[in-house]
């Protein structure tokens, strides 16, 4: 994706690609932007910014390839470069620190939670959404890309600029954290575990 040949587009083709291939993903883009920023105005700015960049750099979009993955990559980079710095959220764990943590990778051999399927099925929605939102942004992102948006591991690797092995270990860790949060929640609410 990073070393794509520049494509040539006529003005008409640019507009058509933008309308037919880029704009249809706006729901997913906005939802992703909101779950990164937790602010409607910021999410709107982030999506708008992503689309402006996508149009400006349309020559680097290879025709016939996955437009959604390409757009998500731009959005993720815009978020890191522009929004993370001025984000109103409490400051995150240092990125490098998080990566070192993943790479220590004793990918938990243990079974992390005692969540039962009945408990999960009783959850009505807010719990899962809140648990997802409570994860550190890097963990949250892999779950959104994989479970919500259905990206494959190789697409996620390109969107996030990380090796597939890191996608897998990050996803594994993210799911365990999510289950811990859900399990805590279930205990608080008095679900039988």
């Amino acid at each position: 994706m990073s070393e794509t040949r520049r494509q040539s587009y006529s003005q008409k083709e640019k507009e058509k690609t933008f309308e037919k291939e880029f704009l249809p993903h706006i729901d997913s883009m906005y939802n992703f932007a909101y779950r990164l920023t937790f602010d409607e105005d910021d999410a709107k700015d982030l999506v708008q910014d992503t689309y402006l960049k996508a149009y400006r750099f349309i020559e680097s979009f290879e025709k016939g390839t996955n437009a959604k993955a390409w757009l998500f990559r731009i959005l993720k980079n815009s978020f890191i470069n522009d929004f993370r710095k001025k984000s109103k959220q409490p400051s995150k764990v240092d990125y490098q620190e998080v990566e070192t943590f993943y790479n220590s990778e004793d990918v938990d051999q243990s079974i992390t939670t005692d969540l039962r399927i009945e408990t999960v099925q009783d959850m009505i929605g807010d719990e899962i959404s809140n648990a997802l939102n409570s994860l550190d942004v890097d963990f949250r992102t892999v779950i959104i890309l994989c479970d919500l948006e259905g990206f494959k591991y190789d697409e996620m690797a390109k969107i996030l600029d990380i090796p597939i092995g890191t996608v897998r270990s990050r996803l594994h860790r993210a799911r365990n954290l999510l289950k811990e949060r859900l399990s805590d929640y279930a205990k608080k609410m008095g679900y039988k575990n």
């Binding site: 779950r35 689309y51 897998r168 799911r175």
Partner: protein
């Protein structure tokens, strides 16, 4: 690229699965691949055989699957502001004509 996920897969452990002592470690590695439809046919087969005889893993798999489905159903909840598409279009195409 997709096949790199099979690197850790060891066929001998597949044979072990038929015995009394299934290899949980191997199974744990494959669980996410199966869940995310990234597993190859051999891994799927191995996993299927394993969870037939392993209650804890059968449960973990089903819990993980239920969570994945729940996320899909419940976390897609932000509606795009109605004016956003028009704003984007006007900025993009106005900019292009300049």
């Amino acid at each position: 690229m997709g096949l790199s996920s099979t690197d850790s897969f060891d066929e001998s452990s597949s044979r072990n699965a038929q015995g009394v002592q299934p290899d949980h470690k191997e199974c744990l590695k494959i669980l996410n691949l199966v869940l995310d439809e990234e597993a190859g046919p051999k891994e799927q087969e191995y996993f299927k055989k394993h969870i037939e005889n392993c209650m804890p893993y059968y449960e973990i798999y089903n819990v993980d699957k239920a969570i994945k489905e729940l996320i899909k159903q419940k976390c897609y909840d932000k509606e795009v502001p109605s004016d956003l598409v028009d704003q984007i279009k006007s900025k993009v195409f106005q900019g292009a004509e300049e």
